[in-house]
Symmetry: C2
Amino acid sequence: MHHYNLCCVGFGNVGRALVRLLETKRSELRERYDIEWRLSGVMSRSLGYIADLDGLNPAELVAGTPRHAPLAPETTFEGWLKAADADVVFEMSSLNPLTGQPASGYLRSALQYGAHAITANKGPIVHAYRALRDLARARGRAFRFEATVMDGAPIFSLFQEALPAVQVRAFRGILNSTTNLILGEMEHGHSLEAAVRRAQQLGIAETDPSADLDGWDAAVKVAALVTVILDTPLHPDEVQRIGIRALDSAEVQAAHAAGTPYKLICTARRGAHGVEASVAPERLQPGDPFALVGGTSSVVHFETDVLPGITITEHNPSPTTTAYGLLADFIAAVRT
Amino acid sequence: MHHYNLCCVGFGNVGRALVRLLETKRSELRERYDIEWRLSGVMSRSLGYIADLDGLNPAELVAGTPRHAPLAPETTFEGWLKAADADVVFEMSSLNPLTGQPASGYLRSALQYGAHAITANKGPIVHAYRALRDLARARGRAFRFEATVMDGAPIFSLFQEALPAVQVRAFRGILNSTTNLILGEMEHGHSLEAAVRRAQQLGIAETDPSADLDGWDAAVKVAALVTVILDTPLHPDEVQRIGIRALDSAEVQAAHAAGTPYKLICTARRGAHGVEASVAPERLQPGDPFALVGGTSSVVHFETDVLPGITITEHNPSPTTTAYGLLADFIAAVRT
């Protein structure tokens, strides 16, 4: 039996879902994978740095009422890792798409401390993938990030483990749930503004929805997939990007009624001059299976040298689905 | 660098595609995985037992003109494995759905000899899965079978590697390409008989198409998935099975025109009294994405405890796609 000290950086919806999922899976992890775990550290803006080598109480943390006082105000991130003796760090802080910070720094510190570094944050992938990957190799630790694109669906591990020796030539997908949900509302006659409010009420859209509406979130995901799966570093700025603000509600409704709806489509293709990537609204052709990917579901289709086409569709994700991506990374990290 | 002696049992379309694919990927295998290989043995009904520790000539074998005489007539399978000093055995003999033989016996001998055993044959999965899995564990070798269901799409390795700690509750799929192609022909006004002839001309249907038309091939695949992924041994006889012979061509055509086509649908669900599984033609509901899975493409949708739904679609497979399933198994076997 192996015992692991788990630490959470950020403790919002996904962090709470992760801790609940770890509890649900406790006996399965023990019986199938010889894994025992305790939560030895949590840090967040509201909680500060908390650590206890005897294990924090998951139920108290999920309820937002830990019995532990935060560590002294002068505590550093590195000091917290040490106080919690971190074996695995789950990095779930907010995305900064422009710099990838502070997430990248947290992950680097985690690896340097000797912990496995697992993130749900796509900023570090587009800003620091190769540096973090190489650091992880040098330290004999894992750097994993399955939850960054399509929540719990196994996109990165598909190519790392299940599909070896495959060259991806191109992909096409619907990768931003928020705009997909918003377009669905517009198809039923709502204005863009009303659709955004609805998505905000459901907790799907942010208070400032620009990152979704302008295609920026989707562009970061495209850049992350290209960087890792096409093994070609690509900055989100290099993704041709058109958002959904200019779409007319009546036209969206008519296109839907005709069975050829608008979707915010992500594409990338390796060509003679590197990788061309884009995010843009597209009116689908009749019979395109992407027309049936509604709500917060997502899809990606890969063209490869040996498999003519393989499509992965994820239906109705929740914070638990994202948490599962982190859990799968944890198991994979300690299995290898 | 690791050197492997590869042996092929059966050498039809898939075997030839495998050898061509291994050649295409030779430098990638060397550079990415430190794998060097030679083909040290081939056996088939027409070639007999052939072995050469210096390596057989792949191009000659693919052309059907090996320079090697077969081993002496009294050679046994075990004697051939030894003559070829097999490290990896690719088992690609014909399916016997009633007994799983002789494939199961070949795989057992391969593992007992100390080779990794990789099969494209679903007979051994439904008839001998647990025995072969346990033998492989005892011998420290791999027993893998990705190509048995959905060709090169990573269905088994999805749950073995990319989706740990997931409980599959149910699946639903289109798993038999031949009937899917035949139904497509019938949608365009052809009779069942004409559609079967067309599938035979394309090399998709067998001379005796009963195994496909009666849903037997699909039932074996369902039993294989239930046995492995739901970890519940299920015999093909226990799959409720209705084939496509009773479907009326005009009705198939009308259903297609209405956007609610007939498909041969495979299902399994874990219930209070074990696993219920079935194969039957189903007229799809409007908006069912399975309606868009045409030709020889295939699809499977999984419901799990942590991912509400994940769908894998494989488009337009060829013998190379099946060969890729075997190659992926080879890489996975020697990586672990």
